[in-house]
Symmetry: C2
Subunit: 326 residues, 2 copies
Amino acid sequence: MKIGILGYGNLGKGIESAIRQNPDMELSCILTRRDPKTIKPITKDVPVYSVNNIENLKDEIDVLVLCGGSATDLPSQTPEYVKYFNVIDSFDTHAKIPDHFSNVDKIAKENGHIALISCGWDPGMFSLLRLYGSAILPDGNDYTFWGKGVSQGHSDAIRRVNGVKNGKQYTIPVESALKSVRNGENPSLTTRQKHIRECFVVAEDGANLTQIENDIKTMPNYFNEYDTTVHFISEQEFNRDHTGIPHGGFVFRTGVTGFSKENKHVIEYSLKLDSNPEFTASVILAFTRAIYRLSLEGNTGCKTVFDIAPAYLSPLSGEDLRAKML
Amino acid sequence: MKIGILGYGNLGKGIESAIRQNPDMELSCILTRRDPKTIKPITKDVPVYSVNNIENLKDEIDVLVLCGGSATDLPSQTPEYVKYFNVIDSFDTHAKIPDHFSNVDKIAKENGHIALISCGWDPGMFSLLRLYGSAILPDGNDYTFWGKGVSQGHSDAIRRVNGVKNGKQYTIPVESALKSVRNGENPSLTTRQKHIRECFVVAEDGANLTQIENDIKTMPNYFNEYDTTVHFISEQEFNRDHTGIPHGGFVFRTGVTGFSKENKHVIEYSLKLDSNPEFTASVILAFTRAIYRLSLEGNTGCKTVFDIAPAYLSPLSGEDLRAKML
């Protein structure tokens, strides 16, 4: 299947790299809103086009992977480009998913295309595990923890503080909370009890470190509801230890069964990822395979990970899956 | 939906109990090969019938849950009863799944019914996690560990040893192997390096304990390829501590991404179950909901967990799932 990439940031590069690990896929082209000449793909000889003439590429692309951001790009891009292509996105503003879904669904159906929105690991694989867990153990509780990993939004917030030259924020689950959930204790956890926030800051020369630390720790929405630690480090240390984009997290479902609800069960799913965008890209490509197959079967409209039978994700046949993986 | 249970052992009782946790389901009847008068269901007023007149119950049952064993019951029961009903089973002889699938598929299609085979946690949820993991990280390795939990087959084997009055065997993953996999070290593990076997034995009065221990540890297929420990305990201690049927296990997918395969990722799924049959029953009921819905949409033939879009498992609507779980 021929894959197009729209947007050549971290996620777009992750898609480009992951296509090489999937022999049934090929990278057809990269699309950009920038001047195409400024994009230097790592894949040899892959064409880079402007989005302006995108409708001419209908025959070149089986599925277009939209690699823009959720805040301003995807709400308009996904409904726009599903007019011309089957599309997949990683829209992750949880509260706005229902609206995004209906916008995309309507236009996808009108144009005979298929779309899958909100793909990745959360929303995405974590959502699937929440669904499976709650369907299996209806008498139970869900817990989702994120980290240890880099929060881009919180790192941006640190860098806006007066006197900060560079900064990175790690979200870390509280170990005792994980332990309590894992033991089936069904704790009620406040925001502060679930995650801590660890910040690594390079200060400008002569900056007031006490003021920086205070500004970060008291910042509303971002830090004031958490136990936050701030470490001041040199630029050299920052560049050596804090340029990666690791992430991960945990989804638990705990519940009870039995005539007297006497038996406890704990389901735990966890991810430990060296590269958040590359793993997200890998999930997206598996679902790209699925929606391409569904489109060949005549399906149209907007889907989510909940609507995809797992067999569609794998390059193996049904026979092979039953023989080797069941 | 109206559920019938065929076979009233541990799994059948687990289904009976789990139906109470799913308000959209009701227990229609219990079917048995024994004299129906010998069965005393816990649910008040539920009828118990002989399997002999099962075809008269077509209007009473939307899905029949087959709770027999994989060795001799299910290979004949599932193809037989899919003539009259939609059915679901927990057939778990991995090597014989392809044959069982084609037997059931043919008869299900001829009779316009739907069947789902090999449901539970392994095969079942563990199979799903293997599929998702390998589709997401094609450059990687799978690891499945079982336990800590009771192996019925190994406990039976202990009880056949000369001088043994009662016995129970726990399969336990080797902690250092779990750790190595979790660290992304991609170890090659022998049978002995993956699991240990711990046995609790009540010896008959005057039995030769050295002979019992030796007979167990050298038993081919069951114990000789493992590090096995044997504890002799009193009948009282056995009845106090070893009557439960706990189980669980771990599925890992580890893999690499990136243009130089420089980034490692670890996906881990684990179960910690107080009651193996009750958890298995809970998984089966979620998939029972799914195949009932699929049958209402006109689907027929044999399915596995791989063929079921997750949304079908949940009592929530698509809108609710997208708003609350995605």
